[in-house]
């Protein structure tokens, strides 16, 4: 716990909170100021907007400890505020609310628009309000109410309050004592919290891809391997060897029914996830084609991933041509966060690295040589030379990147 002092609605308060506590949770849970509403908790909906050091801030993504020493005003503090009184009357007159969930954030933002801009036409008001979502009104009443207050105030100039001199750094930050003290308890390790048996119990059963009705995305790649068709065909049949070629993936155990328990760790910048699940394979000897299906869950981010690797092999000269299509479905926090194109790019990079690793594992040196990245995938930085070649072919364009 870290102890911090804030001025909340004019009163000095000292509270002890965990470092992970947001300003929103602090005012709601510790101070019982529940007028601050939580909608999305990722800075999108605006319902939690409060004033910190006089300016609007998203309290759901404002770390409370970082704002130690700041002055906070929540919707409860505006009863006697002249401008807020005008706004409340205008919201009432123009039917600017229905269920009221977004209203505390709307009012805080509306007040900022009037004070900061002085004059704003309808379009400007709509632009400034873009970060506050309302599901009831269609916004027109809210916009009219704010415009009404702006017009009314123009007849009574000089009433605008003095704006504080604003700092260059984040609003609310920079007040507190600094140093090398570290607050908060050391985190328990994931394994101590969740025994593997529990993980296994939560493992989703394999089902056909897209059984949920969602559309899967796909990445296609083709490459040549310098090994004869029968050798490559045999290798594709060995799931453990294939898993070793997938960056970040590792085999946990093999079941009697031909399914495999696998883990896959991915890393994209600060985002880390570890999927635990099962894999199985179906093959068609006549067609020289098969499909490896895998499904898993990352318990940390509550993300479900499901993927299929379809492959078809054809002899080409002395070697083998491999056509693969990786299709995948993501649901949960990671899917919510990562935009489709970025995920596709990421899967493309994994697929390219898989191809490079597979080629290396089949080459005479590869039989004994190391396979690129056994632990986890980092798309950046540690890409092997072979992968860079694959990628430059994959994403070739005439202009320099970056």
């Amino acid at each position: 716990m870290s102890e911090l002092s804030l001025t909340v609605n004019g009163e000095k308060v000292t509270v002890a909170v965990e470092p992970r506590t947001s300003l929103a949770d602090l005012v709601r849970e510790n101070l019982n100021l529940t007028g601050t509403h939580l909608g999305c908790e990722q800075g999108v909906c605006g319902a939690c907007t409060i004033l910190v050091d006089g300016v609007p801030v998203r309290s759901c993504i404002g770390n409370a400890t970082a704002c130690d020493g700041a002055s906070v005003r929540t919707i409860e503090d505006f009863d006697a505020d002249p401008l807020m009184t005008e706004l409340r009357a205008a919201f009432n007159a123009h039917h600017a609310l229905q269920c009221g969930f977004c209203t505390p954030g709307m009012l805080v933002m509306a007040r900022d628009i009037v004070l900061r801009l002085g004059e704003a036409d309808e379009q400007r008001i709509r632009i400034e309000l873009a970060g506050n979502l309302c599901r009831c009104t269609g916004y027109s009443g809210i916009v009219k109410a704010i415009r009404w207050v702006i017009v009314a105030r123009q007849g009574a100039r000089g009433e605008l309050e003095q704006r504080p001199a604003l700092p260059l750094g984040p609003a609310g930050s920079g007040h507190a004592k600094t140093g090398t003290d570290v607050s908060g308890a050391t985190k328990a390790t994931a394994s101590s919290l969740r025994p593997d048996a529990e993980l296994a119990a939560r493992k989703p059963a394999p089902a056909p891809l897209g059984a949920s009705g969602k559309k899967a995305s796909a990445v296609r790649q083709s490459f040549l391997l310098d090994a004869p068709l029968p050798v490559v065909w045999q290798r594709f049949g060995e799931v453990p060897a294939m898993v070793r070629c997938i960056p970040g993936a590792s085999l946990v155990s093999e079941a009697a029914d031909g399914t495999y328990d696998i883990k896959m760790r991915i890393k994209m910048g600060p985002i880390g996830a570890e999927f635990a699940g099962t894999a199985s394979q179906r093959r068609d000897d006549a067609m020289m084609a098969g499909v490896i299906h895998g499904a898993g869950r990352d318990t940390k981010s509550a993300t479900l991933a499901e993927g299929e690797l379809n492959y078809r092999l054809t002899a080409e000269g002395e070697g083998t041509r491999v056509d693969i299509e990786v299709s995948y479905l993501l649901s949960g926090a990671l899917a919510q966060f990562a935009r489709a194109g970025i995920v596709t790019h990421f899967i493309g990079a994994i697929t390219a690295q898989f191809a490079a690793n597979l080629g290396r594992s089949l080459s005479p040196e590869g039989a004994v040589g190391p396979i690129e990245d056994a632990g986890e995938l980092r798309v950046a930085g540690s890409l092997g030379v072979a992968l860079k070649a694959w990628l430059s072919e994959l994403f070739r364009n005439p202009f320099r990147r970056g």
């Binding site: 800075g43 998203r58 759901c60 770390n63 604003l166 260059l168 750094g169 600060p270 985002i271 981010s301």
Partner: protein
Amino acid sequence: MKPSAYRYARPSSVAEAVRLLADSDGGGKVMAGGQSLGPMLNLRLAQPELVVDITGIGELASVREDKDGIVYGACVTHAAVEDNRVPDAANGFLARVAAGIAYRAVRNRGTMGGSLAHADPSADWMTTLTAVDAEMLIAGATGERRVALAEFMTAPFSVALDEAEFIVGIRIRRHSPAARFGYFKFCRKRGEFAEAMAAIVVDPAAGVSRAVIGATDSRPIVLPDISAYLPLSPERLEAAKAMVEGLGIAGEPIKDAMHANAFARALQQVKP
């Protein structure tokens, strides 16, 4: 929604911050305004062991000018740039870009350094500051080094920083009064992450005629010399669109057309 538990430190100097990061054995994560990190913590996509809050380091929330450029401290907020609380090295272009980032309540805490370290492909600063050829000032265990922003982002959400390094400042060359700028982005909704974007800087005094295509699925794409399309004519505009569409950035026709049109609209803002 609660982030996974983490420890928290608020160092008073760059050296202290570097030491905390170095001692964290890879579990440390720098936070400035926390407007990009916050959502990832809440969604538990990022689960750092230690958060190092750098907003207590006074010098990071300041600006200093040298002979031909301006160094913006990493903790200078988008709102400070939008409001012209800091000098604008690009004749008002930076303020214009800042005003379009997310929403005012986010801009009041979100910082230039934080946005660049987060390296979202669709973020405004990554594309526009690459266009003005910004330089990253990076502190680490062995002192300070500088990297061109064009070399800084390596993949989505990934940058060329080691575990004990962080951005302390962004240096931007002062542009000549004759410099002209263009910036256009397509967003489904104002303040949302962009679907396509392009930034253009033409500064004859410095021999610069550069465009950057952003909101790709990974790094921004630098077009180092677009002088062939200027001054703009209807034919050149079409050629410019065709050129960007020909890059096949997204690999699907609708998004490729959006990139081409974002570039065309940015180009149209560059008046002779």
